[in-house]
Symmetry: C2
Subunit: 353 residues, 2 copies
């Protein structure tokens, strides 16, 4: 039976990406060697790294003066690297608290200096995105989390400010148009829209670096990685290769414009059902609803057993909500076909007969 | 033509490991889902993680009271994590300088406190392992690099001392018997003897942790990772799975005792040729020769073109020496079959006709 993979991450990848990745593990470009046993200094891998970096630049129209890095340690390591690199000694960092991942990010920054939370959605269990908050003009940066996987909220409009913007885009990068020039630093773990777990993308404005006044350990120093083209140490070869394949796939689909349109259609299909089917309630504020993670609950909890068994029967996988929210979460990342969203909607409709 | 892959790392893996890894990328355990698109919290992946950890414990006879972690960021990240976790505030760390990797490790430690180099082989371009050095009794730890890939040297006997021992075993772990109980901390990047690039193994004595007096960022805190069974953040799923396959393969071969014997035979075959063929010279001190990385030079540099073309003809790949040593380096890790070593020896013999 076909599985519909709604996992929040690591998550669904395009079938052709999976096939090509498996092929390369067996034999890379007919070289007679596996992707995972060649030197990262080999011409084959150097060209993979370059291709991946160039695809990021092309798909997101990254302006000159930014470095594109593929690193390790996930977004969680960037939580501290951001502060090490950008939070000035005796300075202050501003954070918008939109959920669990924002909270983790600011917890690490506190080890390096003062942290001001400019606004928080904690009062309503993070079901909305705060707006109209004041940003302290003397902050080293303002940190945002663009999409909140757990709660199903997404920042639709980024603030305009003179304070440098830093954004964790782990769960919605490459899903919609963004203006990279608004940000000093963007980072994103691969395992939602970009590839398998094991690499993290960093896009950083070169002139923002080297100014924190801190002695930064080499592996956390973006300048070190930029100066070595992400090859300061052995990079995670497989994760970068598979990310490159995913970016090629996005490009072939028509780039970010095209994928954004598809994502809007998929999300509309599901949110329409939530809004029109009395058996379900949406979790997130309507205007802040995520196009990537759709959270909803049953109006009547006693229907849980029935709904779960219908979902299982239909091959729906990974739709349980996070324990801090309950209910259901359908993650409908780039690689999720609309047919799978329809399969979920069909199951929801069965409760409404 | 069959390639003989002497790459220093990422490096050769067993063919059956490569095949199984590719299969799992397509379809994990007949689940209908790819290894790289399932949740790391799924039963499938949790059991992979447990199996990998248990295989490490079994193969190395890890005593009780140690945690086995699979992390990200390579050995290079451990260079700083070691200091963060173990170098006491106002304390001193002792380092044995046996080459480029030792130097990188101690450079990061210097950001955290005093570093004393107990001995260095720099005077002879790291072609030997210093012995008989004094270890300061008040050091937080003594850091060693067990095998030096670039220079082809290996520590045959670890010092006996009351100072906690920390060892970077990136390039010889699982290649020979070691007494884990002698060490407070062992770390090893996967991409030589354990798997593909993208994960690093850490074996740490639990009671050694939590004593540095430092506030440690979560992602660098071994206690955090140990308390979450290496699942504090999304782990590098593919790299851990393929490492697990490699450890299964080592076990099936007969474990470390068996593989050590094979490694000794392979190394002896190659070192015998170096010693008996007047066209070649060994680089490393005989008593310190690595069983993993065999470094040698041509006695007469004018034969380089001939030797290189014969090597290419025979399908030998990755035998160029590191630029800081020159000459040749044959990396003959666990997965390298003796037939490939013989193929290299056969080419060497052709110069001696």
């Amino acid at each position: 039976m076909k599985k519909h993979n709604f996992s929040a991450g690591p998550s669904i990848l395009a079938q052709e990406v999976i096939k090509k990745a498996a092929d390369a593990v067996l034999n890379l470009n007919d070289s007679g060697l596996s992707l995972i046993e060649i030197s990262h200094r080999s011409a084959d891998f150097v060209s993979i790294m370059e291709k991946a970096q160039n695809l990021v630049k092309e798909l997101l129209s990254v302006p000159d003066g930014y470095s594109v890095l593929f690193l390790q340690g996930g977004a969680s390591t960037q939580f501290l690297a951001v502060a090490y690199n950008l939070l000035k000694v005796d300075g202050k960092a501003a954070y918008l608290d939109t959920g669990a991942w924002s909270a983790k990010a600011l917890k690490e920054a506190k080890l390096f200096g003062e942290v001001e939370i400019v606004a928080s959605s904690k009062d309503k269990n993070h079901t909305y995105i705060p707006k109209g908050y004041e940003i302290p003009a003397d902050a080293s940066y303002l940190h945002l989390t663009s999409n909140n996987t757990i709660f199903g909220t997404q920042i639709k409009e980024f603030p305009t400010t003179n304070v440098p913007l830093v954004c964790d885009m782990s769960s919605d990068i490459f899903s919609r148009k963004i203006d990279v020039s608004k940000f000093d630093l963007i980072y994103a773990g691969a395992q939602k829209n970009m590839g398998p777990a094991g690499t993290v993308l960093v896009i950083v404005k070169d002139e923002a670096l080297g100014k924190s006044g801190r002695q930064i350990p080499s592996m956390l120093d973006y300048q070190v990685h930029a100066s070595k083209d992400s090859m300061f140490n052995t990079p995670p070869v497989f994760a970068i290769y598979t990310s490159m394949l995913t970016l090629e796939w996005v490009k072939a689909l028509g780039g970010i414009d095209a994928i954004e349109k598809i994502n809007e259609e998929k999300a509309a299909l599901l949110y329409n059902e939530i809004d029109n089917n009395p058996h379900f309630n949406g979790v997130a504020n309507k205007e802040d609803r995520s196009l990537m993670n759709v959270t909803f609950t049953l109006a009547d909890e006693s229907e849980k057993e029935l709904f779960d068994s219908l979902a299982k029967e239909a091959g729906l996988s990974g739709i349980n909500g996070h324990r801090s929210v309950g209910g259901y979460r359908a993650s409908i990342y780039n690689a999720m076909p609309i047919e799978s969203v329809q399969a979920l909607v069909d199951v929801m409709k069965k409760l409404n007969k």
